[in-house]
Symmetry: D2
Subunit: 423 residues, 4 copies
């Protein structure tokens, strides 16, 4: 009996629909512990209210997929193009970033309706799109899904910051059972031979534009630490006057220490003689064996100098990441907090590792065309590259060539460090 | 047959309970149109989130009534003393004002539970308090109720500001039916003889400490305008270059015009050739017959100079208010917007009238004792007195001697002006 | 033999020339101790470089006398109208105040040449002006001379501030021989009956517009302290936690204490256990008997509350000033520093006395016509009145009705306080 | 007859003395056109008053040479160690940078006396130092002389900025005779083969620590423009909406354009339809053939994108610089302004060329020991490298490996650009 054509399912299309649904549902699942009240808060200018994230990632699909490809698409609301544009001037003007926290409307309920509206059109479009448009559609939907995964991580970063400014220190999640037993293994140096090395992702496979093109770089002989720097090690730096001694610091970093009165990593608080740390499960005693987290580049760099070492370059890190299995303490572990090192070296997950490399374009870099070209390229100044992902990063979002980037003073990212030294 | 003592009702106590309940329910009724999302927003540093208002007025009763008088009172939450203290250093430290909008917790639901907790204890306390404590209790509860009425007005001021910064311009209430027919009657001058006059409230009746003591002042012969200045009149000032001509302005006012780029009263927006005005019912065409509202003292003063007149002193205004019936366009009208003048002179209600008088203590002023002394006295510098109440003021909150006060640059109050001149 | 008509001297004109020359020479004499380097400095935005003062007072004569009255007058430099205008928008645009310290050109030498140019024209104009223009000319020259006297005081205020920010603490003048022996006499209360009183200057005699018209005010029975508050008394306030206790302070004052971290009057520094004070003769040990100086209104008010008293109103002060001889420690004493009280009550000189009165227009106030109307009127908001002159004020500049004014946070004026209380 | 030992002259020592004297005299010669008034000005926080430069370079010799090597050295003034320390925390605390312009004392005369004092001791020390200390002394004096040459350039940069903020637009120097005839030659691309290249200075010869160690880098095939970008070419960018179109700009650059309202390079002003440019000889018509100067990195980068090209890396520039004769329009030409290109390619002199390379340490970088280690290393974050020197740079200060660096928003350096592109 002949199969009816209308129940023929194109596996590429159904696969994309499946991944689309998975990612979108995952975003919503992350918001499940929030009260409506929690969705409105923008506690520092760098963060966005959870509600805004939920809407913006939908705006991305609406703007770059539905408007150009879905004939007859009717936007959910005429002002959302303006309200939920983040920084794409090529699309048009946008609501000022520092005022994202002042939008009580649309309500959370309306934002979820917006998501549902976009989802319905997206799933239909993936089904119905003419074959000729498919490659570009697939490219864009994939980009949109990786974009949404980035915002899943931002959601958790921002919720943590939002809860931290509240004297009630609410908990986002129950504390994970304490799996860590004992302390971190001793740090040992791993020798890494230098020479010419190919940095960046080749033409195949999904990658952001900023990871390409692959190109030769020269790397010196060097050594990498066998694990991340721990809270306990960082405490030794602090106890040795780390935040009071100019000589470890970059000039701009020292100015920041003075201006912001930094005395410890972000989310650390002194309670009598003990340090406590705010996590997504609330305030608890600092665990000296866990990797230090929420340090700026300035603090990471100062620590490394104090320790007689340096930060690794992104090429040194990528070289190692390419040799290691892509596994670690990612968001799927449910821990939402960096874990004490085991034997795997913590190359992936736990905390983003600050590299010593400024975020600049690779030679021959070409941004995406059109407004999507604003995705990465225009930020290639004044920021530093981080590598390897963190405990709030989706595992499927990670690659050896992945380049995250923050300003050297940023601290609300889940960022820590690994030492390196010249051979 | 003898009446059972346990159903004897002390009419003073039941009256206070009735007024307490009425005021508390009125506050909550004002929030009824809000979505949970709307309760979190602090759009400018001068405003507070609706949720904060709801909690703070309960904090007032908790702090100044329940803690000192209700034996065995157990506070609803140990941190609320800190979170919802506004400015009473005598009570203790307080959450920083600019961060009130960052508190997603307690949730709206929890805040209502806090209110219910306080209400239950308050009603019981009024019933049970020994007679000896009654006079002080009654004084404090009355103060607390007037305090809550002030916050009812602030709630509406702040909601308007919150909705204004949202590009969606939400409406708090449906537009009142357009009762105004025709335009404002012509302004005429009312001659007022000068001489010695008693300013302020005598010892009887409820009044804030800042309205006392009554004391002699000398008032010159003068004239008062028969109604408020209208939008249409203010437009003539604007069309004559009012915001571009230094010569009408106080020096500090002109600096503010330049710095803030003021070109019109707050909540006015130009839409092509037409002016529109944001009200609690949303954006609508500007009505030239309505009183001008949301002008700073600087703008009111500049308008008066441009018009060849001046602002009245608070003594001149109080003299007239004492002669007029205490009625006008108050919050009970449901209009929530100033109305075109009728024949009553608009002495009460519609908009607060800026006086030319700095807010300073009356000779012999004595603040309340204890932390309640911070209620008024410590603000007696750098602010100007306003008189007469507005369309969002509860009628029962008003008195001829009532002194409202704002900084000369403040614009989010429902403030307008009436002209005066020397005879 | 008949006297030649061309050597006839009009005594009004020669008298004005004499006073003009005296005042102008006095200004230059005040600058004699300065190095060329000292003329350029603007250490805080409120101050001006000495060079700018020297030029601005000449600009005043050029603008309001020479341009309108001296036919054929050729300005010294076409851009000086812009550079040395202080705040007269009626004259035209002006160089931004915060950038006065960035003008190395014109050089000091050129500014003195500018002064000479203006002087030559002024003296000739006074000689030659037709009789019909004389009354207005005389009025304006008198205003210009009082204006220059005000800048003589500002020069000394600003030099003190300029030298204070220099770690070398240079001295402007040698220390006056220490005439003070012993300590201040005990403060006693002087009873002052209340009633109706005429405040302000009548139509005769020179006065600024802001001192008129004379008008009735009602003053309560009160008491005035027999002398100024001393450094020693202020130290007792400080030792009692004055700068750490909110309850003495106005709300805006307390915010300023916190923001600026005030712990003592301006120019006080702690050197080990001892307080030192910067004066125009450099740094020296604080004399507890001298009047406290360089306090803001907020500090004066807080001290008075702490002492269980209050600040006097300007009417209370003027009432007393009218009864006292116009003499005291003025600039002519050469001391340039307040002196320990003797028996005269310190009603004039030593330090300006903060009154509790906001600087507002008297009823019926009329500013001068034209751009000169900006002299005083537009500042009548947000400032407080001070009375009586200081040790850097020219004696001939003082009158009982004189109203000085500063913002309540200003501290670089030579301002102190006298206590008052209700009878 | 034997030569007397005491007239023996060590040629290394006399040579160092000669170079010392030449450099010191050159600094003073640069200040010769200044009035005393001009020495005090700090027009923006990045600049320093000329007087401060004169003292600071002497402080450098006093601190790093005389104090450690000249036995019995008596500092000129005990507070100068504090006043004229720039940023060497290893030496001690320092006067706050933004307040350098507030120091009227020491006077200019005293600063010159300070220089003479240091010079006398320095010359004597070079004569008398025991041979064993000589190598370190020579190293430090050489460093001090290069340091002073850097400040010679800063002096001219800062004087230009100081004079620019003055509405009188004073001229530092008479205009050089107009040597330029005709316009710049057409720009052509020069092909440059890629491959492995050694970047940085080898162990021999004087170089700053930041130029070492020499190390291998991989450079792609590329092309370099045959001359600098001209004013006329930059005008075409502006006329094409360069400052109004987000798409050419880095995100941080666009934010700066908006915040600072940039519409043209620094020192350009529109006079009716014509552009004028402030130079060290005052304001004059813009010459379209001259290289564009006083652009930030952001503007250079935006221009390059607009032109369909990019900025060269520092390795690409150094590769070319090594092949070219070290000559160009340096300060010795007396022009003090970039010149229209001739046939030499403008590789050296005229304007510093922005590279696309962040200022980071070379692999294996080692800072100088002690407080001198703060000279360069601590600034290796957030800044960009510039190459080749400018028309205000001493020729003897330049090297192919020389790395200058400024923040990407800085504009008061004499900085322009040359285009590059991938082959």
């Amino acid at each position: 009996m002949a199969q009816s054509p209308d129940i023929y399912v194109d596996p590429r299309r159904s696969d994309l629909q499946r991944r689309y649904c998975e990612t979108r549902r995952r975003t919503e699942a992350l918001c499940q512990p929030l009260a409506v009240d929690d969705y409105q808060i923008q506690s520092i200018v760098e963060t966005s209210p959870p509600k805004w994230h939920l809407a913006h990632v939908s705006w991305f699909f609406e703007t770059f997929v539905l408007r150009p490809f879905a004939g007859g698409y009717r936007p959910f609301h005429p002002r959302f193009e303006y309200l939920f544009n983040s920084y794409y001037y090529g699309v048009g003007q946008m609501h000022p970033r520092p005022q994202r926290g002042l939008l009580s409307r649309p309500t959370v309920e309306e934002v979820y309706a917006y998501r549902a509206h976009v989802d319905q059109w997206m799933l239909e479009l993936v089904d119905m799109l003419p074959e000729g448009d498919w490659p570009e559609l697939e490219r864009r939907v994939n980009l949109g899904l990786h974009h949404e995964q980035q915002h899943q991580e931002l959601l958790l970063m921002d919720i943590k910051q939002n809860f931290y400014v509240n004297p009630l220190c609410p908990a986002y999640a129950p504390a994970a059972p304490k799996a860590d037993s004992g302390s971190a293994p001793p740090m040992v140096w791993i020798d890494r031979p230098g020479g010419q090395f190919t940095l960046g992702q080749g033409p195949d496979g999904f990658a952001y534009d900023n990871e390409r093109p692959a190109h030769p770089v020269h790397v010196p002989d060097h050594r990498l630490a066998s694990r991340l720097v721990t809270n306990g090690e960082f405490l030794a730096f602090m106890d040795d006057g780390g935040y009071r001694s100019h000589e470890h610091w970059l000039s701009d970093g020292w100015a920041m220490v003075k201006r912001e009165r930094w005395q410890a990593p972000l989310y650390w608080e002194r309670d009598g003689g003990q340090w406590r740390q705010m996590g997504l499960s609330g305030m608890r005693a600092l665990d000296p064996g866990e990797p230090v987290c929420h340090v700026s580049y300035y603090e990471a760099d100062a620590y490394a100098r104090w320790a007689g070492a340096r930060l690794p370059s992104e090429a040194e890190l990528e070289g190692m990441l390419r040799e290691r299995p892509l596994q670690g303490n990612f968001v799927e572990s449910g821990r939402l907090h960096p874990a004490v090192a085991g034997e795997d070296g913590q190359w992936y997950g736990d905390v983003w590792e600050w590299s010593a490399s400024p975020y600049v374009p690779y030679p021959g870099f070409r941004p995406l065309s059109g407004a999507m070209g604003e995705y990465n390229g225009k930020f290639m100044c004044n920021q530093m590259v981080l590598r390897g992902g963190a405990c709030i990063t989706p595992a499927s979002h990670m690659r050896p060539s992945y380049r995250n980037f923050f300003y050297p003073h940023d601290r609300w990212a889940f960022a820590g460090l690994r030492l390196a030294e010249d051979a």
